[in-house]
Symmetry: C2
Subunit: 218 residues, 2 copies
DNA sequence: TCCTTTATTTAGTCCTGTCTAATCTTTTTC
DNA sequence: GAAAAAGATTAGACAGGACTAAATAAAGGA
């Protein structure tokens, strides 16, 4: 049985590794708004429990067991986010905080029932993949909006590393998962995009925003 | 902001007082499966926060603020139980443990949305009243099955102080909230009841069980 | 290479929540 | 109305989790 703090540390390590970076003490501390010294202690505990290998000064690798547990946490987090948005009508930029609490509720039955209730969703409200009960992740397209050309017409499938601020910005322009985006111009000066959403509404997206948008061709 | 432990202590005090007993250190400790010395410490903390008055050796009374907070915890607990049974298909004897965790999730918006989603229910799966967002409790009938006479036909509206074991026993006989019960005999020897449920099925309920059943005449 | 900077770990402290053992109050019993 | 029993509080210890400050290791530059 892991404590809430142990679970949060494990999940932080998992997502750092997932993002391609290797997991260093400082990064974990930054992500959890805590201090490196605290992280070192927690990593030692998780290592003692066989969930990861910690090479002092060299970072961390997850064991199979640790990866499995982390995936179950991610599963819970994203299922709860889906519940909050799909069933309770939360906005997609309001759910992270609450899901951060709900993911620690421990009941296997609850998770499985919730998933079933929601229709075994494969993606959460931000387009992030939801691991199934065996820890398998569905595939997600990797085409970034920044790699698209003027004239392309694409559909938004996910917002990468979504912060509430970014989600709020997109929401304000009426852009959500599934939105059709037609690229009409790109400014050389700052890399920003002009694009049409549904009924000839034009929006401008900065290059920073565009880099977070994953899309697919229809 | 209260810790999980503080919340559990406050709720324990509330339910003891609700049940008519006055709240003594030992009772709280028993209810929380903890030791009296630990309870004393927590009562002091809650008193410092203005949630209750603690007269050493004399027990505890809630302040208005403390009662209000306790009611919000009860509200959350019973709403989550309702969600688990009505939406996720849990049995009524499987939800207490999980609701004990879920009640500590802190988000006012979540509670209100959940209540709305469930149709602003006034009673939980055990027939216990759910406080509204202002802390107002709906009325519940107080007629006990033990006060009924042979020949009476009544409807089950609540199981008082339901333990999972009691709920499981009733569930096994197909008796749930709303069930019609027709009393056909009562044994002088042990006070046990013979009664019919729906289609001429006869069941026997001990006096101990009957004392927990709240019913109303149709 | 050696020195400086940065990253990380270790040591020591504090706060919370729990426990056991000892002490103190209140209630019961004779 | 004492003495015993029961109930409650206090004192002291410990584990978990977090922080600051000090020590140590790795990396980079002169
Ligand atoms: Mn969390
Ligand atoms: Mn998400
Ligand atoms: Mn609880
Ligand atoms: Mn209940």
């Amino acid at each position: 049985m892991l404590s809430r703090s142990e679970e949060d540390h494990l999940k932080a390590v998992y997502s750092l590794l997932q993002e391609g970076a290797d997991a260093f003490t400082n990064d974990v501390a930054t992500r959890l708004h805590t201090k490196p010294s605290s992280v070192t202690v927690m990593l030692k505990k998780l290592a003692d429990k066989g969930l990861l290998k910690h090479q002092p000064y060299r970072g961390v690798r997850l064991t199979a067991k640790g990866r499995g547990l982390a995936l179950m946490l991610v599963r819970k987090h994203r299922l709860w986010e889906t519940f909050l948005v799909d069933r309770l009508g939360f906005a997609w930029d309001e759910v992270h905080e609450v899901a951060e609490q709900l993911e620690h509720i421990s009941s296997e039955k609850l998770v499985d029932r919730l998933s079933h209730y929601l229709g075994e969703p494969a993606f959460d409200p931000h387009g992030d993949p939801i691991p199934d009960r065996d820890g398998k992740l569905p595939e997600r397209p990797t085409l970034q909006l920044t790699d698209c050309a003027v004239g392309d017409s694409v559909r938004l499938v996910a917002v990468k590393d979504p912060s509430d601020e970014l989600l709020h910005l997109l929401g304000g322009k009426g852009i959500g998962i599934g939105a059709r985006l037609k690229l009409v111009a790109r400014h050389a000066f700052d890399g920003s995009f002009e694009l049409h959403t549904a009924p000839k509404t034009t929006h401008t997206l900065s290059a920073q925003v565009a880099a977070h948008l994953l899309v697919e061709r229809p």
